[in-house]
Symmetry: C2
Subunit: 369 residues, 2 copies
Amino acid sequence: MKIVCNRQELLESLNGVSRAVSTKSSIPAIEGILLKCSNDTVILTAYDLEIGIVTSFVADVKEPGEIVLNSRLLIDMIRKMSSETVTIDADSELKAQITGGITKFSFVGIPASDFPEMPIPDAENTLTLKASVLKEMIGKTIFAVSTSDQKPVHTGTKFIMNNDSLTMVSVDGYRLAVCTQKVDFSNDNKSFIVPAKTLSEVTKLMGEGEEDVNIGIARRYGVFQLNNYTVITRLLEGDFLDYKKSIPEGFKTRVKIGVRELFDAVERASLIINDRFKSPIKFVFEDNRTVVTCATALGNAYDEIICDTEGDAVEMGFNNRYVLDALRNCGCDEVYLEIGGPISPLKMVPVQGNDFLFLLLPVRIKTAD
Amino acid sequence: MKIVCNRQELLESLNGVSRAVSTKSSIPAIEGILLKCSNDTVILTAYDLEIGIVTSFVADVKEPGEIVLNSRLLIDMIRKMSSETVTIDADSELKAQITGGITKFSFVGIPASDFPEMPIPDAENTLTLKASVLKEMIGKTIFAVSTSDQKPVHTGTKFIMNNDSLTMVSVDGYRLAVCTQKVDFSNDNKSFIVPAKTLSEVTKLMGEGEEDVNIGIARRYGVFQLNNYTVITRLLEGDFLDYKKSIPEGFKTRVKIGVRELFDAVERASLIINDRFKSPIKFVFEDNRTVVTCATALGNAYDEIICDTEGDAVEMGFNNRYVLDALRNCGCDEVYLEIGGPISPLKMVPVQGNDFLFLLLPVRIKTAD
């Protein structure tokens, strides 16, 4: 196998697929990238058995062939190479020589036959949407994905295609994030659960957001096509929370509040929380102001925010990180907080539109100050 | 104690002195900053028993007094405060209230009497030099300071004042860095050893380099005055290497070589070195070129650099990190490498001027390739 190619192009493609390279494995092949060279095209594949990424670029293929090269080593070498043209030459004994100008590296590759077979699911193209839309929807839901192994199906985000809308839902037992957007699709209603890790890598592979993303679904696999990359992912299976049932109807208190102001106040109050000294943040929602307080062995914090409140005054406690996550990802300047009572979940929705809904479970607080 | 002051001014001063706050200590007072307030001035002191930093700023002192406040907590609070004016109010029970606009924090301080007594050495002002000059001299020597506890005196840099020049010397057993500059001073010849940690903090406290730095020396302490900060440091005592004796006279080979080219080649060759697979970088200095190679179980690297060589061809091995450190800190485009033979130390000096001299011990390499 021998190719001559542009250094920058090779490097970008390697960086892209390397997101699916396993960083710690006992199988050397999946710490590598598979190069398949033929017909002036190089196809790069990385696959860690959960997620696979494929891309290709045009190169001067002097001699077709395939080999697996260690990802970290290859990328570091190409990155540091001083010439703009790079030659990769692998002999039949798998000795690969990487040459750029006067610089030469050589190291031993891994036979392509050792690379795990990646499923190429026969997916129907179920859905096409703008990268910018998908990016925003992922941003508004991924933070609420469970990081615990207790319920593996909740380590992913559920995609629900229904009529002309796509809804994405994440839940970790303490909070719920739902995001809905209108999309065009001609297929049947369908739902599937994508691992959060895949969504996070897909986000990083998306460019400025102008391009389309195709999402294809096969029986146990999902295929994202974007930006000259194909991302193949295992889907999660199991009983996902019936999220609609968890969302309370109506409210007794509704607060219209500035996102930045509330975020800053909670962040300040969080200064007296640390790994050793923990306490919920206490909110008092009352006429035209929200009082934010926190008390730990380290000290006390007090803040007030001017806001619009309808309904009953109410006092509630929340985990500071969950409040900060929701406010950081809501993507708007003002939200409604809708509350059924001091121990009901708090519903956060935008003041304009209805593209997201976040639900936060309160923490029981001592009523005496 | 009660003061009203500008948030930004307070924050900058706190950040400056906080470099001398102990981060892990069983004594709460030295994790704090001492505030002494009187006559419209606040004096801030941090002292971890090795290095002390003092600064002051003008504030509206409503009620004089002193208290020690936890550094991390106070700085975080002041940083996040939304108003530009901050009030610090501590009562006789040491309860401190930090107020900015509507935001209020309260936490318990530590009595000033718990703060360790910092030596205020009666130092003569031995030496004054431009911050930019001191910064450059520190940069050219600090990288070669020993990080091992085996010979504590070598964890500092030796300052030698001799006639009208200042020489700074660091050594760690494998390499030596010497930097000399002309300076004006009227006192006697003198030498002292400053801990590298102090020099590193002094560098960070220096501004753009236009201001003067005063270095005063007492029996066991050094005092750096710069930029409204006073840094007091313990000096190191013990037998410092007689560095002049270690520098070989003359050479059999002299190479004039580009710093960037050599750095890049060594950095590339270093890609096949890791924690598990180590090997020296091999240099062959010969007529008009330097060949840089390295071989480990990971692979091989080969590079060539065009250069001017006088004298015998020679083959030597070096620890890659030591070569990179020297080239990164030499501050010039071209250096001379002066070599007495394959097992003599390599002397690196500037092509123009003579402000630095780096000495690197070679590593024995197998002569067969």
